[in-house]
Amino acid sequence: MSATLVALATIFSQLSLLAFGGGNTILPEMQRQVVQVHHWMSAEQFTALFALAQAAPGPNMMIVTMIGWHVAGWPGFIVSTLAKFGPSSLVTAASMHAWERFKDRPWRRYVQLGMMPVTVGLVAASAMLISHASNRAAIQWAITAACAALGFRTRIHPLWLLVVGAAIGATGFGQT
């Protein structure tokens, strides 16, 4: 049990500090660690937990909480939550003064510009891995494509897209 907790703490505190551009950028590494390296769950289960976390209220990295709880119960929940939110929060708290001071320095702009393509590549990688792990039937790819188009083109609230996707799924239409 304690080896598992140490592994959870190591993985999520590292991911916490690497999550430039937000939580979605670290999904591929999280999936690699949780599914491929530690075999805590299948890729399909990982995707289901991600989908559940997206449908719940609150910040979008609640999948971390679910993984911790799934792997090691309440201790896993506490360790994962602290490891995921602690390090990045300390960095934020410590950076507030420096941010004011370097407001107009040109390098701040170059770093921001340079981070952008890295974020794009990582979010695209997340999208591909999650789609690939969740979708087996043609109807699922159709739901994914429709939600991608509607989410990009319209201002429909994402929760409605999740609800409609789940409702279509629940009919079992097209799934084996």
Binding site: F20, G21, G22, E29, R32, Q45, T47, A48, A51, L52, A53, A55, P57, G58, P59, M61, H70, F77, F85, S88, T92, A93, H97, P106, Y110, V111, Q112, L113, G114, M115, M116, V118, V120, G121, V123, A124, A125, S126, A127, M128, S131, S134, N135, A137, Q140, I143, A145, C147, A148, A149, G151, F152, P158, L159, L162, G165, A166, I168, G169, A170
Partner: protein
């Protein structure tokens, strides 16, 4: 950090630790599908803790640093008004209810995942969540579609992480400095596309 803990909203009221906790507790409950719009409405329009400009500046910092934007924002706002205790209150309030909800959902999922209807429901839910991620990828890609260097780095990152499945840390250590160097070179070679110069 003492200076930050003395900050006050424009009308001079003090923001208490309890208010920070309760404010973010409420936000954790209602913010479905991305919390940012809800946080902005509560913090700027309803509670008036920050002016729109202050909010935008703090958000810039939170997007720049690692971690979720909104999580970082809760820490930054708590820190600004009440120092470390305020930061802890805000983030704890923010994730308390969602944590309990996802654990409850996880229990329900674990008990029912072999039921065919639930299995199919999750098939549809996960497919929709995947679609929303694709939409997110397209949105974040908008600012770089005109930059060949940007597309090159994004494509390299995608191949390394999604197809080759390389570990994130070494890949980021290699590609991020390269990307920043390319952005710097591009800005210098085409200064008119950057900040406006005085002349």
């Amino acid at each position: 950090m003492a200076m930050d803990s003395q900050a006050r909203p424009a009308d001079g009221r003090q923001v208490s630790v309890g208010e920070l906790f309760v404010g973010f507790l409420g936000l954790g409950l209602i913010s479905f599908g991305g919390a940012l719009p809800f946080v902005r409405r509560a913090v700027v329009d309803q509670r008036r803790w920050l002016s729109p400009e202050e909010f935008t500046d703090l958000l810039g910092l939170c997007q720049f640093l690692p971690g979720g934007n909104v999580i970082n924002l809760s820490v930054a706002i708590g820190m600004r008004f009440r120092g470390a205790v305020g930061a802890l209150s805000a983030i704890t309030g923010f994730i308390a209810v969602p944590s309990l909800i996802v654990i409850a959902l996880g229990v329900v999922y674990a008990r029912t995942q072999n039921d065919p209807v639930v299995h199919h429901l999750f098939g549809g839910l996960a497919a929709a969540a995947a679609g929303l991620l694709i939409a997110m990828a397209m949105k974040v890609a908008k600012p770089i579609v005109r930059s060949p260097e940007g597309i090159f780095i994004a494509a390299l990152m995608f191949v390394a992480i999604a197809l080759v499945r390389l570990p994130l840390l070494p890949t980021m250590l290699a590609l991020t400095p390269l990307s920043i160097a390319l952005a710097w070179r591009r800005q210098r070679s085409a200064p008119n596309t950057g900040k406006e110069t005085a002349k």
